[in-house]
């Protein structure tokens, strides 16, 4: 049984947490056994609070010498049987890219929190941005599909951290929690349920750890120390981990499965929310903190009788292609506000033929509801 119900570690009830504290509590609730990180604004409080909380729960946490070591040690811990997590922001996320590719290739469960800040480079450490969406998908060389979630509230940072662990263990693919400075540092009330559902990786002694009969299967995941004589490698390998670095068939088969195991299962992975879309002429497609402002704006325009709706993407990758096509066929225009120079908007354009209007703000500040309302008025 891969799914099990467990008690949340914190007693059920309401709490007042910052986003980063909620991520820590989500990791604790998900039974994260290993955390490694390196301080960086605005993710530092995750490392700090985990250092305290893991001492209480008996899990392992360590401050490594850099983000490369952090991601690599998480992968090592994951193969030793841990649910593993690291958290960082832009510069650290860039350093992690080679390790992320290794996790993809070796199908290692690992949760990576990216509390996005205004970039590029050191940019504005304490300011918000949403510029790492494409990096999450394409940042590592030879990029393969991964899963990336976009929480919009402190509540969701808690819930989606747990979800991230479940997804990473289930699909054996790195899962990114694309937080933003604005939510990481936000303080809000959240409700914690007394019971949560966790997915534990499936182990089947003696069964090939890197191949399945199906071309989109997820193999069971053994761990070190159980006499499995594992061969784990980031080089192209067969179902048993034997390196086949010049065989076109092995490469094609492995890469095909790494792709299909996410793309073919996207309907069961993707989550989204619709607001007032039924009769809408204009739809906002948004995610993360920007969805908060968007909803505020939509509600106000609705009060004026304007036919505006909104689609909030809770899952950014795999991309909700069919949902977008569907929305695009129902509305006249799609408006895509983003705290970057236009990343998700390109995906939206790919999957719809209706007019798509971007709005990009990269000044290190959140997009205000008024700004969105103004732009929508011009489009109505």
């Amino acid at each position: 049984m891969a799914w099990r119900k467990v008690k949340s570690i914190l007693p059920a009830g309401s709490y007042y947490f910052s986003g980063n504290e909620a991520i820590t509590e989500g990791a604790v609730a998900a039974r994260c056994g290993y955390y490694a990180g390196y301080p960086i604004t605005p993710a530092t409080e995750i490392l700090e609070t985990i250092s305290v909380r893991f001492r209480e729960t008996g899990a392992v946490s360590i401050q490594m010498e850099d983000e490369i070591a952090s991601i690599c040690s998480c992968i090592g811990a994951s193969w030793a049987g841990a649910k593993a997590m690291t958290a960082t922001s832009g510069p650290g996320f860039s350093l992690m890219q080679e390790g992320i590719g290794y996790a993809v290739m070796t199908e290692t469960p690992v949760v990576i929190v990216d509390a996005q800040r205004a970039g590029p480079s050191t940019g504005q450490a304490t300011r918000v941005g949403s510029g790492d969406i494409m990096q999450a998908r394409w940042g590592t060389h030879g990029a393969m599909p991964i899963i990336a979630l976009s929480p919009w509230s402190v509540q969701e940072l808690y819930d989606q951290t747990i979800n991230a662990f479940n997804l990473t263990e289930k699909y054996r693919v790195p899962v990114f929690l694309m937080a933003e400075e604005a939510t990481a540092h936000l303080r809000e009330r959240i409700d914690i349920a007394g019971e949560i559902k966790l997915f534990d990786r499936e182990k089947k002694p003696g069964v090939a750890a890197f191949g399945t009969e199906e071309s989109d299967g997820v193999p069971p995941m053994p761990i070190f120390g159980e006499r499995e004589k594992l061969l784990v490698t980031g080089s192209t390998h067969d179902a048993y981990g034997i390196r086949k670095t010049d065989d076109p068939l092995t490469q094609e088969k492995l890469i095909g499965r790494l792709n299909n195991k996410i793309v073919n299962k996207r309907e069961e992975i993707i989550e989204y929310e619709e607001y007032h879309l039924k009769d809408a002429d204009i739809a906002i497609v948004c995610y993360g903190f920007t969805a908060r402002s968007s909803l505020f704006s939509v509600e106000r325009l609705r009060e004026e009788g304007k036919k505006v709706g909104m689609l909030r993407l809770k899952t950014l990758w795999p991309f909700a292609d069919r949902v977008i096509s569907n929305v695009g066929s129902r509305v006249n225009r799609i408006f895509v506000p983003e705290m970057n120079m236009g990343q998700v908007v390109g995906e939206v354009v790919k999957y719809t033929s209706c007019e798509v209007v971007p709005y990009n703000q990269v000044n290190g500040e959140v997009i205000q509801p008024n700004t969105i309302t103004e732009h929508l008025r011009r489009l109505l």
Binding site: G33, Y34, A36, V60, I62, M64, E65, D66, I68, A69, C72, S73, C74, I75, G76, A77, S78, W79, A80, G81, A82, A84, E98, G99, Y102, F224, G225, R227, E228, K229, L230, L231, V232, T233, G234, S235, G241, I242, R243
Partner: protein
């Protein structure tokens, strides 16, 4: 007293080292030490980076192996060991891997004195990529990227790791077979960070460019170059020129 080390090799894979490569000898010496200590190889985890030496455990050892990224083996090993301290964890990789691109992880693992055994196969160059200069290349030596001779001094890895706080630090050549087997045994018995710099000849890349002769000549010249630490104390700096000091520099076994 030849022992059957085949039991430790993964069935179906054949060793593919170049003719005269010291890594093949090193592989056998490491297995000899494991055998002498009667360690169940299934209780061990072998972690390696990228390079020729990284192939020693993976795919050859019939045990849990983690073949990682260039330079990052120690970081991966740290995570596995921290989460499951029961895994007897050994890192085997090249000098470029552990000392150059991965040098920072080496320093910090030694500083943390984490219970890992690290064996650094020092062949004085980057063999896998065609024989480029390494931080361990002797000054003046010719490599693919130092056609005029290496302008820089080589790093003393043992001093570095010792200064960083490792419990056990030693350097031996694969020509000093019994000393090296013994050293691996001591490293495996050390609680805390143990580090062995194993000098291993690379005739195909390094030897050829430095006219060091056939594999047998390279081994012979290595024998001539290695001086035990205790003997070195009585030699003048003139006499020590071109020599390699071997022995145990920190002995945490007590």
């Amino acid at each position: 007293m030849a022992r059957d080390l085949k039991q430790y090799l993964r069935p179906g894979v054949t060793l593919s080292f170049c003719p005269g490569c010291g890594d093949r000898i090193l592989l056998r010496l490491i297995l000899r030490a494991i055998d002498e200590l009667k360690i169940d190889i299934d209780d061990m985890l072998f972690v390696s980076g990228i390079g020729c030496a990284a192939w020693i455990p993976s795919p050859y050892f019939n045990a849990d192996t983690l073949h990682t990224l260039h330079g990052r083996a120690i970081a991966f090993a740290t995570g596995a060991k921290m989460f499951n301290p029961k895994l007897k964890t050994m890192v085997i990789s090249g000098d470029g891997d552990l000392a150059d691109i991965g040098g920072n992880h080496l320093i910090h693992a030694a500083r943390r004195n984490i219970d890992l055994t690290v064996i650094c196969a020092n062949n004085m160059n980057y063999a896998m990529t065609g024989g480029q200069v390494c931080s361990t290349t002797p000054q003046g030596a010719f490599t693919q990227t130092t056609p005029q001779g290496n302008p820089y001094r080589p790093i003393d890895l043992c001093k570095l790791v010792q200064a960083a706080g490792a419990t056990y630090v030693a350097r031996y050549s694969v020509t000093q077979r019994f000393a090296l087997i013994n050293s691996v045994e001591r490293a495996l018995q050390t609680r805390g960070f143990s580090f062995i710099e194993a000098l291993t000849p690379c005739p195909v890349q390094f030897g050829r460019r430095n006219q060091l002769g056939a594999p047998a000549d390279m081994l012979k010249s290595l024998v001539g170059k290695c001086v035990m630490k205790e003997d070195a104390e009585n030699l003048s700096s003139e006499e020590l020129k071109g020599k390699i000091i071997t022995g145990e520099f920190s002995d945490g076994c007590g």
